[in-house]
Every structure is written in C-alpha cells, then in structure tokens.
C-alpha cells in the first residue's frame, strides 16, 4: 500500500511538472514581434512603493492591527503580481537573448548573452522575492528584519518623525544608518 501511494504520488507530480515544462516551452519567443505581443506590464515604481518598509511602518502605526494585516496582505498580493509579471518578462527576455546569441552579428550575439544572463538573474531574484512575500502574506503581523537601504531608511525616519509629531506616541531620535 505504501509503495502504491509513493509510486502514484510521484507519478502525478511528475506528469504535472512535465505538462508545465512543455507548456512553458511553447510560450518562448524567438522574435521581437512575439516578444512585443507577449510581454506583460511590470511597474517598478509600484513594486517599490508596495514593498517600501517605511510605508509599511506608517501603515502599521496609522491603522488598527486588523486593518493593517488586511491592507498588508492586499499590498503583498499586488507586489506578487508585479513579481510574476517581471518573472514572465524575464523568461521572454531570456529566450530572446538565447535567440540573439545565434546571430551572426557578434555585437548582437554578445548583447544576447548578456541579456539572457541578466534575465535569468532577474527571474531568480523575482522568485526569491515572491517566496519571501508569500511568507509575509502568511505572517502579516511580522516585522521586517532590518532596514539597510539608505534612502528607505531616511524616508522611514522622516515618516516616523511625522507620525510621532501627530500622535505623540513615539519619541524621535536620529541614528546614523549603517
């Protein structure tokens, strides 16, 4: 009985994985026309705003815990949609890069190599970020571990000052970002 469960369980997962693999291979592009048709809109500014820790800090202070969890989940869903679009576009870029690598023009071939490498890095990072956001979606009350981005940190500080001056709940003190 155990071996039946193992064999048919693994077989089911394998068939789904193979189905996805063949579907993915059908959606690759080899011309710029195909790329134009299939690319998704991915807004970097929107993603940065949705994942900005200072924005989250502001929301955490401004909203009730329940409202905050709800709003945070919505923001995470939108951010994950951005990431999925980026991952999709990166995949198209990678296949365009792979096609360009075959070009007889050495400049285009080199650009193609660079493009596919960068596209795969973006896809890897997008996937990692997506998993991280999934974790945050599951634990919406969790706090970001640390803020190291200088600009974000400074925005967070000014936001903190603004919030504390309005509410009087938090004492403001400046610290140097590391």
């Amino acid at each position: 009985m155990t071996s039946w469960v193992v064999v048919f369980g693994i077989l089911a997962v394998l068939l789904v994985a193979l189905w996805r693999l063949t579907q993915h291979s059908r959606s690759t592009v080899a011309t710029l026309g195909e790329w134009e048709q299939r690319k998704c809109h991915a807004d970097l500014e929107a993603f940065l705003a949705l994942t900005d820790p200072s924005e989250e800090l502001y929301l955490r202070i401004s909203l009730s815990p329940r409202q905050f969890r709800s709003v945070r989940r919505k923001r995470i869903i939108l951010a994950r949609q951005c990431l999925r679009s980026v991952a999709h576009n990166a995949s198209l870029f990678a296949s365009i890069g792979a096609a360009a690598r075959l070009s007889t023009d050495p400049e285009i071939a080199l650009a193609g190599r660079r493009l596919s490498t960068e596209a795969l890095q973006v896809r890897m990072n997008a996937r990692a970020a997506e998993y991280y956001l999934l974790l945050r979606w599951m634990l919406p009350a969790g706090t970001p571990i640390r803020l190291t981005k200088l600009g974000t940190y400074q925005r967070a500080l000014s936001r903190m000052e603004f919030v504390s001056s309005k509410t009087g709940l938090i004492s403001t003190h400046r610290t140097t970002p590391d």
Partner: protein
C-alpha cells in the same frame, strides 16, 4: 497463409517501431551535428537499438541476461542524459550551477532512499530461486530514482524559464514519461496485478512513448527565423538592482 497472432504482431510492432525511430533520430542528430551538443543522448539513442538488435540474434538462454543487463545500463545512461540536459541549459549561467547540481544530487539521494525503503518492505526481495522477482524490484527502485531526477530537472527548467531549447524539453519529457510508465508497470508486476505475459507485452510501451516523443521533437526541422536586429532591455537592470536590494534587505 496463416494469420499472424495479434499478440505477436503487437510485440513486433512495439519492438520495430522504436528501433527504426531511434535510428532516424540518430541520423537526424548526425546530420544536424547535435551529437556534439548531446553526446550521451546520442549514445543512448544508439545503445538501445543495438541491444534490441543483439537480442534478435542472440541465443535464447542468453536473452534474459542481455535484456536485464542492457536495461540496467540503459536506465543508468538515462540518468546521465538527464544531467547532460541540465548541464547543457545552465552552462552559460555559472550562477545557476550550484543550485542545479545541488537539486540533482538531492533528487538522486531522495529517490535512492525511497527506492531502498520500498525494497526493504518487499518480502519477495532476495528470495532464493526467484531472480526475476529481485530484478523487477531492483528495476522499480532504479526507475523511481530516474523519475525523481526527471522531476527535478523538469521543475528546475520550468521554474527558471529555461525552456527555449526544444530538444532538451523533448528529451526530458520523453525520459520522464518512460520512467513514470515503466515504474507503474513494474509496480503492477511486483504486486502481481498483471501476469508476466502481459508485463512482457506492455513493458516496451513506455519506451515506445518516449521514442515517439523524441521523434516529434527531433525529426521535424525546428529552424526558425531569428529576425533579431536589436536586443531589447526593458529596464531589466533596474529591476535586477531593485530585487537584489529587496532580497538583500531581508
């Protein structure tokens, strides 16, 4: 003229069709110089028809040994082909190498452990005087490892979008289907749900499915017009930086 026994006709068809198709695939690979890109798959494509041809002319008492030893070599060669496909796709991207090798090794270890666990639960294993039972159970475990490797490679390629090489996708899909179907048939045979004669009749089906898939991917010309006179960027650099910072902050 006596009509041919339908079982015999099916057996012959299942034996001859893949043999001819694999030789065609080998010829196509030679013509397109694909044997340089996929040397292990080319070797596999020649090895299996060669074994089947030897089986035709070998003495009857040698046939089971040639078949089962050949089957073991074919399964191991199939696993090496999976690694070849993975290596081929990640070769231009050194940053993916560690993750790919780690995943492949992990799949092999997990598959091997599950296979050993399944073997240890079988009372028929190592029963004296019944070597076929032992061989069937051993092959089932080997097929399980092959399935795990196919699964790992398929997941890796689709997760990272490394799916533009149709040959690689075809080879991985073919091996996955063959290993999966073979494993199920061996499971049925090990549990005695099918008779030996039905098992002998049906076991080439898995290989047939794989060979037909490979033929579909390899034989038609897949030359496409690569009309790329410029390479788009689409703000990838900015996205890469933003994502690295996002991940780095966590």
């Amino acid at each position: 003229v006596r009509p041919m026994d339908p079982k015999h006709a099916i057996r012959m068809a299942l034996w001859i069709v893949p043999l001819l198709l694999q030789l065609t695939i080998a010829a196509v690979m030679l013509r397109r110089s694909l044997f340089r890109e996929f040397p292990l798959f080319f070797l596999y494509t020649l090895f299996v028809p060669l074994r089947d041809s030897v089986l035709l002319f070998a003495q009857a008492d040698l046939n089971p040994w040639i078949y089962w030893v050949g089957e073991g070599v074919a399964v191991l060669l199939g696993m090496a082909v999976m690694y070849e496909m993975l290596s081929h796709m990640i070769q231009p991207y050194p940053f993916l190498r560690r993750a790919a090798v780690w995943l492949f090794q992990a799949a092999a270890i997990v598959g091997g452990l599950i296979g050993l666990l399944m073997l240890s639960q079988e009372v028929q294993f190592w029963r004296p005087g019944q070597p076929i039972e032992t061989i069937v159970l051993l092959e089932r475990s080997l097929r399980l490892v092959q399935v795990c490797l196919s699964l790992a490679v398929a997941l890796f390629l689709s997760r990272f979008g490394l799916t533009w090489n149709h040959y690689v996708v075809g080879v991985v899909t073919g091996f996955g289907v063959a290993a999966g179907l073979g494993m199920v048939l061996l499971e049925f045979r090990a549990a005695h749900y099918i008779s030996d004669s039905l098992f002998v009749l049906m076991s080439p089906l898995a290989h047939n499915c794989a060979v037909i898939l490979w033929a579909v991917y390899f034989v038609p010309s897949r030359q496409r017009e690569f009309a790329i006179d410029r390479v788009p960027t689409g703000g990838l650099g900015k996205w890469n930086q933003a994502l690295q910072e996002f991940i780095g902050n966590r």
